[in-house]
Point group: C2
């Protein structure tokens, strides 16, 4: 390997440098601690899953983005194969929800009921690379399995809001809606019941293309103008909130009343607002993309941010599908990579970390250097040895930029063997 090697990571994937990992680790620890305070426990599943599981239809478009793994040994016959299915047995997971369903079916006997899971881990999607999108990225999900009532939604919302507050995100806007209520609205307005899916897809674009755009798209789909007008009117008037909408819908649809009650209960559980700060509002225009939601849905945005940072909802059909029975399920997913962008932008500092001391030396006896660094370490500091460079000023600047908070020179301890004095390092200036 003396020829020049391509040392870049695979396209769309990242090397994470020490300062980046430090931020990720601190955020991840704060998130996990917040969720654990609400009784959630972290689980892990393997990165690889059987390809049949990943391609079972629960993953939507993500199933087209799977990194597939070649069979090994005698099971592999590339020359004789006419299709990739013949040479593939596993794939890298593209989300944490499909593996959760498998995990729950496999291990249910050993899990508390309801089962409250934290999953923080990498997923892989062979997406077209673009700025801010990666082909390996971290997802961060919490799910409550086995709780049919709104207590699941309430705990998920409380834990997630608390968690984001612990990250310094106190200005969140949490919007909530219900898929059953959306269905009732669509039917109430006069759409065909089987057009629901397409109507949802258009409605989901309201933020992006506006009411006129949605209206035009629905018209193009050939729905009745009266239905479109009714729906846009229902959507436009959000001032009356849930009760006004409930009144407008009346009791013609049996799905309306239970959905309204669920939403009322959830909204009513936060009389003093969200625990970490921010707002919780009913938003009849919220749809969310995935097809598997069966009840309440929610999404969290931040003031002035064009994308959401968390989302979730109830999906009672999916988890139990492998066991041929119903398992109530509700989840919230934090967009970990997006949240990190926000934290970096806001210069989030979780708390005063341990001081990090660079002990500069000019060679000399390694045993006494180790003893000296051990001495400086006694107060809980992180201490690292560096050979002093000629351009010490430049070296100190680099150390400051790398997060070191202080330095000492090994020679300064004196002949008495005392410890050298730690002097503060100027932190990296904002321009760096």
């Amino acid at each position: 390997m003396t020829v020049k090697t391509n040392t870049a990571p695979p396209r769309g994937m990242r090397d994470l440098l020490p300062v980046e990992v430090a931020l990720r680790d601190r955020a991840s620890a704060a998130i996990q601690a917040s969720f654990e305070a609400f009784g959630f426990s972290r689980i892990e599943t393997p990165a690889l899953e059987h390809i049949a599981l990943l391609c079972s239809g629960q993953g939507g478009d993500n199933e087209k983005l799977i990194y597939k793994v070649l069979k090994r040994g005698r099971k592999l016959d590339v020359a004789g194969a006419s299709h990739e299915d013949e040479v593939v047995d596993f794939g890298l997971r593209f989300d944490l929800t499909v593996p959760l369903a498998r995990f729950y079916a496999q291990n249910q006997g050993q899990l508390l009921q309801p089962f409250k899971a934290i999953q923080i881990g990498p997923v892989w999607r062979a997406e077209r690379p673009q700025k801010g999108r990666y082909r390996q990225f971290t997802q961060c999900d919490i799910d409550v399995l086995g709780e049919a009532g709104p207590l699941a939604e309430i705990e998920l919302i409380a834990a997630t809001a608390q968690c984001l507050g612990a990250l310094g995100l106190h200005d969140i806007a949490l919007r909530i809606n219900d898929r059953q209520l959306l269905s009732a609205m669509v039917v109430h307005c006069g759409f065909d019941a089987d057009a629901e899916g397409r109507v949802f897809v258009s409605l989901d674009k309201l933020d992006k293309i506006g009411a006129d755009g949605v209206s035009a798209e629905l018209t193009e789909q050939g729905h009745s103008p009266a239905a479109i007008a009714a729906l846009m009117s229902l959507m436009a008037d959000r001032s009356g909130g849930l009760s006004a909408l409930a009144a407008a819908l009346g009791d013609g649809d049996p799905r309306t009343a239970p959905a309204v009650e669920r939403l009322s209960t959830i909204l009513g559980a936060f009389p003093d607002g969200l625990p970490g700060g921010g707002t919780l509002v009913f938003d009849p225009t919220l749809v969310r993309g995935m097809g598997y939601y069966t009840g309440s849905i929610f999404e969290i945005g931040l003031e002035g941010l064009p994308f959401s940072i968390a989302g979730g909802g109830r999906y009672d059909g999916m988890i139990g599908s492998m066991q041929g029975r119903d398992v109530p399920a509700c989840g919230f997913s934090i967009g970990f990579e997006r949240v990190l962008l926000v934290l970096a932008e806001r210069n989030w500092e979780p708390s005063q970390g341990a001081s990090r001391v660079a002990l500069l030396h000019d060679g000399g006896d390694p045993a006494s250097l180790l003893a000296m660094s051990n001495g400086l370490r006694q107060d809980g500091s992180s201490v690292s040895l560096f050979a002093r460079r000629k351009n010490t000023a430049r070296q100190l600047q680099e150390l400051g930029e790398a997060g070191y908070t202080g330095f000492a020179r090994a020679g300064d301890g004196g002949a008495s063997g005392g410890l050298p004095t730690v002097q503060p390092l100027a932190p990296a200036s904002a321009e760096d």
Copy 2:
């Protein structure tokens, strides 16, 4: 997906349950904190690497165990392919050292010198499944890159011993040797210099097959009986330690004196023993398997354990190979999965964790249940709501087994709205 699905993870891979992840998380956090105290910083590389990098010859036999990833989209032509190389572009990493070399070549301009890296992460090997061996498992490495002197070894040993001490492993036995010294020994005894590799492989089996077994194997290889006898005699007498061996070797080989000095310096850096407890000894029979070591090598065992729990050494040739230059490098790898087995066996408890309270309810208003759980959470407890089961005694037992330390009943707060009393839960009995 209403048919019964295979819900087992891929063969040789594991689902990790909450109690398992909790132990792993605590161990991992303690390890990382110990290393950070010595100025090491965690980095991350992607799970996938270019297949050419993984197959470049640095991975030894592990290169035969790679999970290979199929090309995607138009680049993939399975029907037309005659060999797997034509349809594969990436592979899952089989260790953290090959990716570290790539990372260092790619990002060196942004790294402090010396660069002290922590890597804790999963690797994948398609090994024949067997008890205690997994196809996805966690490796835990620290490496010092760019430090040619024994300070690297000394810091690695100090940090690793401290780290294992933090995990309660105070009875470690750290053995150290030097590949250059081993080479000098082999030549001194009269073996052909080019037989060194095969001699090392046999010598490495000393623990398993004993001196007679090694002797027989070397005889079978056709080496001179006098050389074999000389080597076995050198190996047999370890009582005199490093100085006796140095005297026996004399100064016929230019590699002897520097190696002896390196070893003396390292051994001399721990006059009071290892920081976390345990012993540090020179062992001329230590070889270690991998071919890439160029200087000192070390390995850590535990009293009564048939396998080592950590190992490492200096490998100056590998890291710089991608850049066509020398980069001094030295690393220590903790066998994370093996250490976990020991910790589980020894019932390691890092420190009193937060109390975990199960709040049992009989339904009722979700808002007041949330308020009640928030109240109990104020003292830092983790609090989780559970619907009380009819067989409450059995439920409490399960909660204790799952790590809950206390419980309260939502009804016990009284009409005044006070908080219910938390009662202790008996921990899981040892038989469970």
